[in-house]
């Protein structure tokens, strides 16, 4: 199973169209391996993105340097996956 330890999901709040465009720039940076759960569309609509552990610092620095607000929606994906698996295994047992 692929490991998601340290992967976070950020909820980004773009305040205006310029900030939406900035987040769209992130989409094009393939090396960051971002997984957009909710795409950047327009201001006011939250953007959710799963960020691998190795890209977290770069993404946060990018957002902060452009004054784009975000919060951590999911602290550690793997913790949730472990819970999910545990629950399924408990049921099967």
């Amino acid at each position: 199973n692929e490991n998601f330890v340290g992967h976070q999901v950020l909820r980004i709040s773009a305040a205006n169209e310029a900030q939406v465009q900035k987040v769209k720039e992130l989409e094009d940076l393939e090396h960051l391996q971002l997984d957009f759960w909710r795409d950047p569309v327009r201001p006011g609509i939250p953007i959710d993105v799963r960020v691998p552990f190795t890209s977290i610092q770069s993404v946060k620095v990018f957002l902060e340097s452009h004054g784009i607000n975000y919060e951590i929606m999911i602290e550690d994906i793997q913790t949730l996956l472990d819970e999910e698996q545990k629950q399924m295994s408990a049921f099967q047992a």
Binding site: E2, D35, F36, D39, M73, I74, E84, Q87
Partner: protein
């Protein structure tokens, strides 16, 4: 393993094998009402099944519901299982629903992307696409909600095989899509088509590939409003509704744009709940509430379809 659909646990997530076993149990327990149809095989050779709920007749007007075309959206497949059981429970008990099923058939595809779903259980929980190979690329899979022949390849889909929104080499390249296309085309009497995704709490209607309003926009908008009102009445879950392009983003080659172009007026797509900010990792404890509230919206659409023949 559950010995009957009564002892099946609807409040936990299940593997593909468990869901397929559930389908067999449901058919065995309700032979007069439920049958299982295989509409194709996936890229990796798994059978693609649709449950048919019918009280008789030949080629009756029908309602199509699919769940789980994006494999990681586990609450959708889990809701599909719950819907299947609900249909067998409510027929003969709920007067409005019984009237619908006495006159129309319902087709329910619980696992629309079986390869992807199996892959989320075994290898990568975050997998969204199919598992087909693209010649000349190391990347795997096509977004099956960008692979339909409606604005195929336009803005709102990616031509990069490594992208999560890769549209594929050509429309219907994915057997999971083509199987539905063939089924819907051959049937010829499907009147409502509802494709269920998660998350972000939306009820959407065509179009996704163009900002031009659908010819039936007013009726679809009113119906969406009624469906969302019914959904929200149960647990207060807030939904938005509108056309795909106006409400979320431009998306070309999407399922319901194709079904609408085939003359299926009541074409809708859902994005189920994300209460608690968990996205695709919705806790299993929310499966039943999600399914329950969604069922109310589905009933609204089915009832409207039944009462407004075209």
């Amino acid at each position: 393993r559950a010995l009957s659909t009564k002892t099946f646990n609807y409040a936990t997530y299940h593997t593909l094998d468990e869901i397929y076993e559930f389908m067999d149990l449901l058919v065995t327990e309700n032979p007069q009402l439920v049958s299982k149809i295989q509409i194709g095989n996936t890229f990796e050779g798994r059978p693609i099944y649709v449950l048919k709920f019918s009280t008789g007749g030949t080629n009756r007007p029908a309602i199509w519901i699919d769940t789980g075309i994006h494999s990681r959206e586990w609450v959708t497949q889990a809701s599909g299982v719950w819907f299947a059981k609900k249909i067998t429970e409510d027929y003969g008990q709920d007067a409005a629903f019984t009237a619908i099923l006495d006159n129309m058939d319902i087709f329910l595809e619980i696992v629309t992307n079986p390869d992807g779903f199996a892959y989320t259980h075994k290898t990568n929980r975050m997998w969204r696409k199919t598992r087909s190979r693209t010649q000349g690329s190391l990347c795997v899979g096509v977004d099956p909600n960008r692979n339909w022949d409606a604005g195929f390849g336009l803005a709102g889909a990616s031509s990069n095989p490594c992208s999560d929104t890769y549209h594929g080499k050509f429309a219907n390249s994915e057997v999971e899509v083509k199987s539905i296309v063939d089924f819907v085309t051959n049937h010829g009497n499907i009147k409502a088509f509802i494709s269920i995704h998660s998350y972000s709490q939306l009820l959407l209607y065509p179009y996704g590939y163009t900002s031009e309003p659908a010819p039936d926009k007013e009726e679809l908008d009113q119906l969406a409003k009624s469906a969302v009102t019914a959904l929200t009445s149960l647990y207060g879950t807030k939904y938005k509704y509108g056309s795909i392009i106006d409400t979320i983003y431009q998306a070309s080659g999407s399922t319901v744009d194709w079904t609408y172009s085939q003359g299926i007026k009541y074409s809708f797509t859902f994005e189920l709940r994300d209460t608690g900010l968990r996205g695709f990792l919705l806790p299993a404890s929310q499966i039943i509430p999600t399914a329950e509230e969604t069922w109310l919206a589905l009933l609204t659409i089915m009832d409207h379809t039944f009462k407004h023949p075209y």
